[in-house]
Subunit: 193 residues, 2 copies
């Protein structure tokens, strides 16, 4: 494929991609979603805007890719051999990621604007469908080990992520580690055979 | 107190108050938070704006009162004698309330704007501190009946409300009744003695 640059990790294409995605999140946090444009992101990243249009096409596609890259880098999928430890590591990393300025700005903007912006809503649904499936590995492995009875993994992950998201975004109550531990313990006890 | 109108339920003062609070939520849903003003609410309710300034002072205070009145009217605190049934009735009513156009607009606006608006953030925290305490009655009663061991009621209510709020506001996955039942069942099993 002569027209497509190679995407070796650490290659030039990968470095440009990483710079653009970071610029996208930074631009969103600074300018807000209404102020976000591929032109602005290109300027911030020091990249030609035609590169961005060719590669992502829309700001929603770029934002989806940026959030996905952040989550992949900062919320690794643990495999400790214990459901409780895996869920704790997962929710701690997820909430630390959500608490960063850039991710929080992206999530809060998506909550406010999704009802009025079909492309943004679809990007959000695509991210979460993929992400809950990836996170679900910790539940599937617990089932395979015989630690818990067979169960749909998605709602288990949502039972762990939902309460701290609710605190951080909605109620404003403190999301401290005690709360994360209590949330995970309640879910793990509920799943115990 | 000669300067304060009497507030018998159904009296003129109560009717004006109810009309103003409904107008506040409708105005927010139509005009957005940035377009919300006590003048606009007064016009919509057909009430003199000085009445609103005297009684609420700010749009945040009026909004807090409006959300509180909605929750009190539409999310009654059940007392069926069973924790599972009480939590189910509570979460079904809470999510039906959240799914209305007016409440959803208020909550989404609060999520987006709270980090930049201290008065709005404080109104949100005040609402939730009060509301989680009120909702917690179903957990306190289950403890008193000996149905579950003593437990902090707030996090139990958050474990039930958090996942459907997360779906409705963040992931966009469908909040159907099966999901509410599964969420409540997981929590109740986690609390079983």
């Amino acid at each position: 494929m002569p027209e497509e640059p190679r995407r070796r990790p650490g290659g030039r294409s990968a470095l440009v991609r990483a710079a653009v995605l970071e610029a996208g999140l930074a631009e969103l946090a600074d300018a807000g979603y209404h102020g976000l444009s591929l032109e602005g992101v290109a300027r911030r990243a020091g990249v030609n805007k035609t590169t961005l249009y060719r590669r992502w096409g829309t700001r929603e596609a770029l934002l989806l890719d940026a959030i996905r890259a952040r989550a992949t880098a900062r919320v690794p999928i643990p495999d400790t051999g214990s459901l409780r430890e895996d869920l704790l590591a997962l929710v701690r990393a997820a909430i630390a990621n959500l608490a960063t300025r850039e991710v929080q700005a992206a999530v809060r903007a998506a909550v406010a604007l999704s009802p009025h912006d079909a492309a943004l809503a679809e990007a959000g649904r695509a991210f979460w469908a993929e992400r809950l499936d990836v996170d679900g590995a910790v539940v599937r492995r617990a089932v395979e080990r015989g630690e818990i009875a067979p169960v749909d993994p998605g709602p288990v992950v949502e039972a762990v992520l939902g309460p701290p998201y609710f605190r951080l975004l909605v109620t404003g109550r403190p999301v401290d580690d005690d709360f994360l531990v209590a949330t995970v313990d309640l879910v793990v006890r509920g799943l115990a055979r």
